[in-house]
């Protein structure tokens, strides 16, 4: 748990002259240390930004929400407590506790939640909102003992739960998990009566830190890992398959191997969400193939790609898997029961997240499974996520074909590729996701938060295109985004990214041709910036321009057309 001293020091680490990240904290109490902890946890998550948390006036939660838009924030955090819904549900008010007030309190809370819902929805139309519903216990207002959930208490909880359920489905609203908060901040150790009465700040510091972290997690969640490499023996199943044979390994309750079944079940769920799953095992390949083919396997073989089974070092397997996936070790989790194998892989790939599977350790199994889920957590699953595995398989097949055919024009033409361009793609979450996670073919490496992205797209001369691709090897889904402005017959291309899965098909040439054609522009100005990782984009621009690209590099349409680049794809236009 972060202490207040650590929080203040963390805030001081904000880089000078960096891009600000502004968050509004809306609460009815004195924000005091909650704003400090929220700022500190956000600063830790966003080390390249200068975090600024803006608070409203004491007791004016609704006013803070109403005025938040004027502060131009990147996010709004709401910390709601019972006293915000009815002052009689706090300790700073003497409005009365007892049977006479009971029904009126429930009515008041219902009305107040109704007006809060409208205010929050209005804010969420423009800015992401994160909310913590009441975290403090109700005071002894009602006639029931503290061990009983009386009618009024149950109704109050139901009202809050109803709104939380409604908000949880909203695209721009996220809710703090009460279950997680209960685990890290026990309910009986949250409230500080003295601080509440003397300063208006109701939390003990440990709870303020936990709540600040929970809100920061929702505003700036850790980037989800993309792939998982798993061992087999005593990990995916119980037993050594080379010794007991394919029928002798287990993952069920009957054989006291349920932990392995739960692990497989988790991996299957992750695979269905688009997480890449691969195997790295020191084993006999034919034996493993028969074990994986067992019909009772929970994680079926078609959800696994690639499978590396042999007797060589696992670091070599991981290297080949990363190459097939075309992602970095920092995006991957490696799971094995052997500390030796974990150490060998970690030494070869310092950025990889290694997790030890402990087959007989029931005490740590629950935390292991929850931790695994958290490493891959995402707010929503897109169609592209579920396409990823098949798309990588087809990209891998494409790469092996291209190696044999030397990417001849004839070969590319015979792919029967088609491009679908959505010219109104700003609101598609996949567009921003692609822009923020693509490194290699990225015009300038610029990242955007949702508010900045919306602001870019809101300009009347702005365009945001997404490009989807498919050919005879299958669909790659949405693989490129182009965004910028068209002014005086010039395209100012401010953001251009393309997934590395789509390289070598000439899609980038076609994107530029379409940009000239659709906008009628006579020139494209590339808002280029070299980054440590955008080498493929730099190579492409160098070939296209005939010189090393510089910031604001230009290419006239006439010059582009003189290149007479082959354009292989059928085109389909759409607007979402």
């Amino acid at each position: 748990m972060m202490t207040l001293t650590e929080a203040l020091r963390q805030i001081k680490r904000a880089p000078v002259d960096s891009q600000p990240f502004r968050a509004v904290l809306a609460c009815g109490f004195t924000p005091l240390h909650l704003s400090t902890f929220l700022a500190a946890h956000l600063q830790r998550r966003l080390p390249s930004r200068a975090v600024d948390v803006i608070c409203g006036l004491y007791g004016d939660l609704a006013g803070t929400l109403r005025k938040s838009a004027g502060k131009n924030p990147s996010a709004v955090a709401v910390a709601l407590e019972w006293a915000d819904l009815d002052p009689r549900l706090g300790y700073r008010n003497l409005g009365g506790w007892g049977p006479a007030e009971q029904d009126d309190i429930v009515r008041q809370v219902k009305a107040r939640l109704g007006s809060l819902r409208r205010a929050i929805e209005e804010v969420a139309a423009a800015v992401p909102v994160v909310i913590a519903f009441p975290t403090l216990p109700l005071p002894p207002v009602f006639h029931t003992g503290s061990w009983q959930a009386g009618s009024a208490q149950a109704r109050l909880n139901a009202l809050v739960q109803e709104l939380a359920a409604e908000f949880s489905a909203h695209a721009s609203i996220s809710i703090v998990s009460a279950q997680r908060l209960d685990l890290v901040s026990p309910a009986g150790e949250r409230y500080d009566l003295q601080s509440d009465l003397f300063t208006g700040f109701p939390y003990k510091r440990a709870h303020a830190s936990a709540l600040g972290e929970a809100l920061a997690n929702l505003i700036a969640p850790p980037p989800p890992k993309k792939g998982l490499v798993t061992d087999l023996d005593d990990t995916l199943w119980s037993g050594i398959v080379g010794e007991v044979g394919p029928q002798g390994v287990h993952w069920d309750l009957e054989n006291h191997a349920q932990i392995h079944g739960l692990y497989q079940q988790t991996l299957r769920a992750l695979a269905d969400e688009g997480v890449l799953i691969a195997i790295a095992s020191k084993n006999d390949a034919a034996t493993v193939e028969r074990a994986l083919a067992r019909p009772d396997m929970i994680l079926s073989p078609e959800k696994i790609f690639p499978v590396e089974v042999h007797w060589h070092a696992k670091s070599g397997s991981v290297a080949r898997i990363l190459k097939a996936w075309n992602i970095g070790a920092g995006d991957v989790v490696f799971v094995d029961d052997s500390p030796l194998e974990l150490a060998e892989v970690e030494q070869a790939f310092p950025g990889i997240h290694c997790l030890r599977f402990r087959p007989g350790d029931y005490a740590s199994a629950e935390a292991f499974l929850t931790g695994l889920r958290d490493l891959f957590a995402r707010k929503r699953i897109s169609g592209e996520d579920t396409l990823r595995r098949e798309s990588l398989r087809s990209a891998s097949e494409f790469q092996s074909q291209i190696a044999q055919n030397d990417a001849s024009q004839e070969f590319l033409r015979e792919l029967n590729g088609s491009i679908a361009v959505n010219t109104d793609a700003a609101e598609d979450p996949r567009s921003l996701e692609l822009v923020n996670k693509t490194n290699q073919f990225n015009l300038n490496g610029q990242r955007f938060d949702p508010v900045e992205w919306r602001s870019l797209a809101a300009s009347p001369d702005a365009f945001v295109w997404s490009v989807a691709y498919q050919d005879k090897f299958g669909s790659l889904g949405k693989i490129a985004v182009l965004a910028g402005k068209v002014r005086e017959r010039k395209v100012f291309l401010e953001s251009w990214v393309m997934s590395c899965r789509a390289f070598a098909r000439g899609i980038e040439n076609h994107c530029l041709a379409l940009l000239y054609e659709r906008t009628g522009a006579g020139e494209i100005v590339f808002c280029f910036r070299a980054t440590d990782r955008n080498g493929p984009l730099q190579d492409f621009l160098s070939r296209l321009l005939g010189r090393a690209p510089e910031p604001a590099a230009r290419l006239e349409r006439r010059e582009f057309e003189q290149r007479d680049l082959p354009l292989y794809h059928k085109i389909q236009w759409s607007q979402s």
Binding site: L4, T5, L8, T30, L32, T199, F201
Partner: protein, 84 residues
């Protein structure tokens, strides 16, 4: 006492990062513009963390200078040592 003043100096530097180190020992609520009511509580809580002690809210009004806080902490430590 010297150890208390050194640790207290660290607390002041954490809460008032703009305050010149040389001016910390003579700091008072009147001379430090950033020392408002919120900063006073923050300072008090940072001191609690540094010295692993509880400072009474009732004492807050009197703890309005570096010297006053150092003296308060000195008395607390002495009392705790006597109790031990």
């Amino acid at each position: 006492m010297n150890d208390i003043r050194a640790r207290l100096t660290t607390c002041f530097a954490t809460v008032f990062p703009a305050l010149e180190p040389a001016k910390i020992p003579s700091a008072t609520q009147k001379t430090v513009a950033a020392w408002d009511s919120v900063a006073a509580i923050t300072l008090l809580n940072v001191i609690e963390e540094e010295f692993n002690t509880q400072v009474d809210f009732e004492a807050l009004a009197d703890l309005d200078s570096f010297d006053a806080i150092a003296a308060y902490l000195n008395d607390r430590v002495a009392a705790e040592n006597q109790g031990a």
